[in-house]
Symmetry: C2
Subunit: 240 residues, 2 copies
Amino acid sequence: MTPSKADIKLIKSLDKKKFRNLHGLFIIEGEKLLEEALNSGIEVKKVFKREEIGAELMSRISLLSSPSPVVAIAKMPFEKPFEAPDKEELYLALESIKDPGNMGTIIRMAEWFGVKAIYCSPDCVDIYNPKVVQSTMGSLFRVKVSYIELEELVVMAKKSIPVYGTFMDGKNIYQTKLPKGALVIMGSESHGISPQLEKRISEKIHIPSFYKKRSGIDSLNVAIATSVVCSEFKRQSVFG
Amino acid sequence: MTPSKADIKLIKSLDKKKFRNLHGLFIIEGEKLLEEALNSGIEVKKVFKREEIGAELMSRISLLSSPSPVVAIAKMPFEKPFEAPDKEELYLALESIKDPGNMGTIIRMAEWFGVKAIYCSPDCVDIYNPKVVQSTMGSLFRVKVSYIELEELVVMAKKSIPVYGTFMDGKNIYQTKLPKGALVIMGSESHGISPQLEKRISEKIHIPSFYKKRSGIDSLNVAIATSVVCSEFKRQSVFG
């Protein structure tokens, strides 16, 4: 279909979180991503195809620097913010993750490692930010992600599973017996886990570094650290 | 110092690989990154500071969208393309990795996991691309990275260490005894490892997925996969 002036205005507004939340809508670009959204039961309101509307109009409505052949307006699914955790499952909590690429990569990786749900602090980047949507490669439609105050989350989660967090002075993750069911908190790259959350954590863990020479590196990218932690939790519980 | 017209022209040209290679120079932005370059013995030709030249001129010479307070012109260090591998060390080979963010993240992670050297196929993104330089967070100045034809590399490396590659039909990495010294090849996200390289590999490995439901995800981001592989190699050889 051809987008009306109102459609164009709406699509452009959906680049901003404020308007996504106001309308409860977000943008999906690309054929494969749209197919994955439809397969996952995402309600798609309108679809605009380059072959129907032409490249010029497409480049006007696309939010990407290289416009894809399809732009769709989709409805945000409702996610319950919290459900009592399963004692056999792995959960992630992300505190103040601001970078859309990191958020998208974490959601995609979480699906691969069978993470049951991801909880984000309210100041994390919005998961319906177009850059996050694109970089999840469709995992966004299959992984449960919600926003919640992490202090509340930790209090509730600790009734059923232990809560882990990564710290420089934590125990070596490779030499710690990790449980099957756990909530793992990952802090922001610049500030780590906040002191308010730190005091509620059951166990501090750490990914050791393996360099020999004096080195200037003091941290891993947060998506990388999250993946290594998930890999080690799953390795121990499934193949350990 | 105040940049001359020729300096400004040179800096702008260094956004392109062709001119970086022509001059043997690249750009470093940011105080911390410059400090790490100097600490690592990188030869810095010229430094321009916002406090000296003003914000307007700084925004003209900066290659970043948010100009940093310091822009420096540095000399590319010479790296021997290949040295006989140490039988106790881990090496990475990257085939056709095009995304600067992935390349930067891999170089940073490689330092953390004590990777001895990274070999890139000639069609990988240039490591002196400003986006790569920034995203390595200084690891670029401490990790040995060079460009080489990977088929030649594999032939030479196999004289001292086994060569691993990740494939969908590879052995479960968590259930495979991994050696201390190895060269691991990581293929591009879109095409994986090329058939020419595949036939020269000693052992195929695979990071298994852990999701239970039918899923649409068929791969991990290449930087994530590389990290999980390095983590598992190091875990086994140091803590296994």
